[in-house]
Amino acid sequence: MRILKKEGPNILVVASHTEEVRLGDYLMVTEKERSLVLQVIDENYLDVEGIEEEVAREEVLLASVQGMTEDPADVSSISKEIRDMRLLQCKARGSIEHGRHSPRIDWIPSRTTSKITRQNVNEILDSAGNRGHRKIKIGRSGRASSFSVTAEALDGRISIITGRKESGKSHLAKMMVRGLLEHGAYCIIFDLNDEYGTIGLRADGTKTSIADRLVVRKPARDLKFSLEGAGIRAITSLLLHSLEMPGTSMREFTRIWEGMELKKEVSMDSLGTYIQQWRCNEFVRDALYARYYTLSNSGLFTDSEQAFRLDDFFKSHPEGGALVISLSRVSPLNRKMTVELILSKLVELLEHRTIPPVFLLSEEAHLYLRETYWEDLITRMRHFGVFTTFVTNQPDAIKPEIYRQADNIFLYNFSNEADLDLVSRASMVDTDTVRSIVRTLPPRMCLVLGHAVNNLPVLVNVDEFDAPPSGITRRFFEPRAELTTLAR
């Protein structure tokens, strides 16, 4: 391999077709004690003058006429090699001097004397700084080396996993959750497709070490809250944001709550009675009643002792655990109310330092997260200790501001120009890298950007997730169970 040209951070390297270099690989251009770190972001054929004519001529002539060639010097094999020569389009990613990586790319190695070698990604990342020691193996980078992100790289960070449908986003998300649980972390997962309930099991059905740390709850079925357990703050937040209760009615509701609290009667039953007996404007009473019936009919609230308490979940799992909120087949309103309740309660508990920081995994968040929560999650809530990972196949569902503030991005394949455009403009590396690499990614391969990889983009072949299949799309053309009859 030889350097051909340099234009700013773009470096063209000529390589033989036998050279084992692929997209995303790291190269080191070594000259004396220092090395320039390059990443291959695209590859083309070396443009030899008149090559089109040559290829066309050969194709037409040699394909249609059989013949014999006597080439005593075997020049044709050298000529074929020249025609197969590759032009590797690389980006300079910094320098390594005395074993330490620095972002400096303000020097040019010699074209003639420098030596170019392929470099192990892990070695380059290690030279760029300590990424932490709590490893979560997610796959392989390059040909053989295993690749891990560290739990520390996700700790206190906002992450985004995005790519087109069936590219392998959920596999990675599940792998990261399992890894975090193995390191004793707490996770809350908003699970839209019933995919995360089985992450405690292996593909053969046996339990993993984290199987007992997993709690799956379905809103209105085994996830019911008591008004007292939820608290005034979470309930008012729900009424305000999910049920759009006007300010005047909210004022009256707060008074009612204080009244109930004074008499230690905070319950759904009491709330109905209090609204009926409360002395207030009839319109306000109607508004309060409407919300009360919505809460009551949602099935999310109970006065029973069995009501779910978020703080109890943390107490009952001292070694860490994951709360999977199954949002599949849950009405949109109940989804929104559940998420609102959980998040506001979470922040309240974190503010009071009652619980440790939490990793939040949110799939297709735009379906249940209110607009203002996005910014709240990546700014205010992060400081309290909610470290969110957004998973989506619609990159435009996440605002560019959020991409820009994300600490880690796991990019899977996008072939749609508009998606590519958005992702390349919003992500934390140059658009050339994102556009050329992401466009060609096969399923289960992703480009990792950000803190998790010391800001050196890494292409990772994500491992198969060892768990029973879940969240499978129901299909028409496959053996199926009998349809259930709807009761009239």
């Binding site: 003058e49 090559i51 040559e54 001529r57 002539l61 060639t69 020049v75 050298i78 020249i82």
Partner: protein, 333 residues
């Protein structure tokens, strides 16, 4: 350029009277010859040259005396073996030059190209000590000329290789029509008489030339061009018959030299017409042989890489001599 005035200010250093005499002589010569040129050129149909490339008139030249004869296909399956070769200069040392040569033979019969044989590239070394890498040694005048001009050297090398291939093809017991690219009588290409003498196999030898000067110089080309089908017009008889021929109705006219035809030139032409395929009147086998022999840019690079590594050459950086010597104003000649 700043020095040009000084350089041209010759009056101070040279006897101007002698130069005046010389100028006068040229002027007189011009006056005399312009009359003759006028007489010969006046009103003639004319094709202007474009950057030295071979061109061909869309319209016909003036019609000369003579008649085009109809060319009829000879319905007999005979292999047409067309040969062509290419030669490129790879580089030079202080006292020698290195060339690469490649030749191809393409076989056609019953109107279809059947196969090919390609040999090379072969490395040829020319120096005052002699030639290396050719089927026969270059000597004497041929070697001196080849050493003095690369274009001529390339032509001589091609001719040497082609001669060997033609001789080999003609020695085959199987009857063929062996076709060479170019005239068999070109002053720069020397073919031995033995190639032109009838052989046992009955194979004929044909040279097809695209060189416009050879075609245009004959007024019969207009006659042949206007013929309604494949036609030819004899130009010169001898050991090698020269004619102008058109192998397709709308084809171009080429100069064709035929040898070893045993006095049956029309039949030889008919054999080629029947067994080869023609595009724009040019034999397909000859066209394929040309494309098989030419060097692509990657092959040029490969050859240079090969000789560098094989002979441990030390590459010197180089520059275009003419541009440096003549300055930036020179753009031709």
């Amino acid at each position: 350029m700043r020095n040009m005035n000084t350089q041209l200010n010759v009056a101070a250093t040279v006897n101007m009277e002698s130069l005046d005499l010389l100028a006068k002589e040229f002027r007189q010569q011009f006056d005399l010859s312009s009359e003759v040129i006028h007489e010969r050129l006046s009103g003639r149909r004319f094709v202007f040259n474009r950057d030295g490339t071979e061109t061909y008139p869309f319209d016909d030249w003036e019609t000369g005396d003579g008649e085009a004869l109809q060319m009829l296909p000879t319905q007999e399956t005979v292999t047409i073996a067309s040969t062509d070769s290419s030669c490129i200069l790879l580089g030079e040392t202080s006292d020698s030059s290195v060339y690469a040569v490649r030749a191809a033979v393409c076989f056609a019969s019953q109107g279809v190209v059947r196969g090919y044989f390609r040999i090379g590239p072969m490395v040829v070394h020319l120096s005052s000590k002699g030639s290396c890498g050719l089927p026969s040694q270059l000597e004497g005048y041929e070697l001196r000329v080849a050493l003095s001009d690369h274009m001529i050297a390339e032509r001589i090398i091609r001719n040497t290789v082609e001669k060997r291939i033609l001789a080999s093809l003609l020695s085959f017991p199987q009857r063929m029509v062996v076709v060479a690219d170019g005239s068999l009588k070109h002053p720069l290409d020397s073919y031995p008489d033995v190639l032109f003498r009838d052989g046992e196999s009955g194979s004929a030898l044909m040279g097809i030339s695209k060189t416009s000067a050879l075609i245009s110089s004959n007024k019969l080309s207009g006659v042949v061009s206007r013929a309604k089908g494949p036609a030819y017009a004899p130009v010169e008889d001898g050991m090698v018959h020269t004619l102008l021929a058109k192998f397709a109705r709308d084809g171009l006219v080429f100069r064709v030299d035929v040898a070893r035809s045993r006095g049956r030139v029309p039949q030889t032409l008919g054999t080629v017409l029947y067994n080869d395929n023609f595009s724009a009147g040019y034999p397909e086998s000859l066209r394929v042989a040309h494309h098989l022999s030419v060097f692509a840019r990657s092959e040029d690079m490969a050859l240079k890489a090969y000789i560098t590594s094989r002979y441990g050459l030390k590459q010197l950086r180089s520059f275009g001599l003419r541009r440096i010597a003549l300055g930036g104003l020179s753009n031709s000649g």
